[in-house]
Symmetry: C2
Subunit: 412 residues, 2 copies
């Protein structure tokens, strides 16, 4: 039996009518010996409404009870979708995360999947049933309900696809696929037909809207064939898979941007061994993710250390760093919320060539570069927040429209 895993996001099942439409799509794909496993998110804004209720009760609801509360959102949508499919005459069954056997650790609100017991799903598939699974949730060894946190439903879908050794894992959403840039900023942006796991991971800040990096990591780990497509039309989507072309060929997949970022600078840091370690271990111990890092020499024996964090973690970061500054004898701390990160992502990027072109595009627009970071497949620049759109357009123009061959035109 071929097995297809599909995932439908909250917008796709946002109303009873949309649920009925999704039911028809699912039935169309089933049959011909295909076993269908469908993961769904909570309807529309259900999760937000449940959280509102919780915060009316207390400003600090315990994580365990939040999971108990939020897990109902997906339980509602799976039962409704199962009713819709049943009403069209196809055998179907809905299963909660616990029933399906998605076993997680006990870190509530951001549980990690430990393993998937595929026994129950396979039993139901063998009875000819379409299996509807609640995304975003699991159960611990002790029968406690957990949720997987951000991107949870995508992660559920990929984990099931991996456990069932599925032939395809389709992520249905409200956009057609992964684009070379955010189409709201760059109307000329083009949909990618195909992209590698690593490129997709780097496209995170663009791709987060369509696919959470965590699910991409899992897909890479288990080599799951992913496809992102729209649940509102029949257009071809974007396929995410392993390495897709020959090495050494320059392929720019897309231009991404991230406005949820802030810059922090520790000023006048004594140039002694162990100081950088102290700064970043203080941050790591408090679960703060640091992105770009620059250490600049101001004058002999005194450095500045700058880094970026998520905007929502800035307050926490600053309060931790004030203590660190004292302990290491630095001069002070500065921070700036008025920044954004723009990136060029692509496999096999020839860095100097790409970097040169990127910096030139920004210079042409008179955009100042505050920090730079690079990886094997991306180059990122920190710029003024107000310049974001102009920067993305300029870089997209340089690479995608006028310059370098783009990914979806490559032969595979």
């Amino acid at each position: 039996m071929k097995i297809y895993v599909q995932k439908y996001g909250g917008t796709s099942v946002g109303t009873p009518q949309r649920i009925k439409n999704v039911a028809e799509r699912i039935i169309k794909k089933s049959g011909n010996g295909v076993g269908m496993v469908v993961v769904v998110s909570a309807m529309g804004d259900t999760t937000d409404k449940l959280l509102e209720l919780a915060y009316e009760i207390t400003p600090n609801p315990p994580d365990r009870e939040i999971d108990m509360l939020l897990a109902t959102g997906e339980q509602i949508s799976i039962s409704l979708l199962a009713m819709a499919i049943g009403a069209l005459g196809h055998p179907v069954i809905s299963l909660t995360g616990g029933q399906v056997g998605i076993i997680t650790d006990d870190v509530h609100k951001k549980a990690r999947i430990l393993r998937v017991n595929s026994k129950r799903i396979l039993e139901e598939l063998n009875k000819g049933k379409i299996v509807i699974v609640a995304g975003f949730q699991g159960i611990t060894e002790n029968n406690e309900i957990t949720t997987l946190g951000r991107g949870g439903s995508d992660t559920t879908a990929v984990a099931l696809a991996a456990a069932l050794n599925a032939d395809l894992c389709e992520i249905y959403t409200d956009v057609d696929g992964v684009y070379t840039a955010d189409p709201r900023i760059v109307p000329e942006a083009m949909k990618l037909d195909i992209i590698s796991y690593d490129e997709m991971l780097e496209m995170a800040s663009l791709g987060a809207k369509v696919l959470h990096p965590r699910s991409v990591e899992l897909a890479k780990q288990y080599n799951v064939n992913l496809e992102v497509k729209s649940s509102f039309n029949e257009n071809k989507g974007t396929i995410i898979k392993g390495e897709t072309g020959m090495e050494g060929i320059l392929r720019v997949s897309g231009i991404t941007h991230d406005k949820n970022i802030a810059k922090v600078a520790i000023l006048g840091v004594p140039d002694k061994p162990g100081i950088a370690y102290k700064v970043f271990s203080d941050l790591a111990d408090n679960n703060i993710n640091v992105d770009m890092i620059i250490q600049s020499i101001r004058h002999e024996k005194v450095n500045d250390i700058s880094f970026t964090v998520g905007k929502d973690e800035l307050d926490k970061t600053v309060s931790i760093m004030r203590k660190t500054v004292e302990e290491i004898g630095a001069k002070g701390i500065e921070y700036d919320k008025n920044v954004a990160k723009v990136s060029v992502v692509g496999a096999g990027i020839n860095k100097s060539e790409v970097a040169k072109a990127m910096f030139q595009a920004l210079a042409d627009e008179e955009i100042n570069i505050q920090m730079i970071s690079t990886s094997e497949i991306k180059i990122s620049c920190l710029i003024d927040l107000q310049m974001t759109e102009r920067a993305v357009k300029a870089i997209h123009n340089k690479f995608i429209l006028n310059g370098i061959e783009i990914r979806h035109q490559d032969a595979i």
Copy 2:
């Protein structure tokens, strides 16, 4: 450790503010070595709203998926109540029907509780936690979510009280207790301090508003001390327990009425053995509950058989009986929705005396009696629907106010 089980209905937890109030009540009762187990229903009209969603999808949602859907209602209220109690500083944990180990058969939408695994509850109580349990729901041996149907949360509370050998089971609702008649019809109606299980069962049509007969049956079977009281004030409620007084003393507990009733008459039934059996086995085979039955002789060898059924089962009953009428060679069928049943309920009733007084009260009001049925502790009369209020007032006046000693004034 003393164990108290409390149950709060949907109105009592209808808003975040009410949930906070309930949390305070619960904490007040806890402590001093008392283990608190609290059963809650879904908030306000949650269940109705979920059903509306289902019927927007399909007019005939499968029972299994309805259970999957409805079980979320109680899961929401237990998590919110646990948050509210936690916010007041008391250790607490919420548990679904499945987590708590309420094992049922697999008859969805009206599952029966097979047993309760009290292990998890006792563990949590021993950790000093208040345990909040989702009412109305259970789980089968195969890990399927079930709901218990009407009166489900009351049944959950009584079943837990029985399994935990609790010292008391308090059912909190939006009225003060069980009254001698519906206070909306008889403003002089008095609250009963105490009533026996059997009397309470007969008071069902009155008592359904405060306590479902099914939970009373279970309480009787396991000798659970039940108390019905209001969650909105501190008034004493009504205690329901085993036999409460000496035999032979006339005690009228209350006057009840039931408007959800219809009369069906099979006309011209041949007077042959096995005919009544045929009529009522046809009804039983179709799960139709028959209440009052009268067989009257019209003339030699031809009878009329009349009975009452629930108003909502009238259509089904008539369509079944049309077939039966043909098969047994009866003349025809008549039915009437315009009827109601009024009853006098009391333990140790001296029937002829009570019946005489009841019939007199109705005669004084010129109310015609269409059918009569009696049991050890009640006498019921079928009357014209429009006469219900007048009949209840007249009978209540005769028995409770002017006549016979009432229950809550008895010595126990």
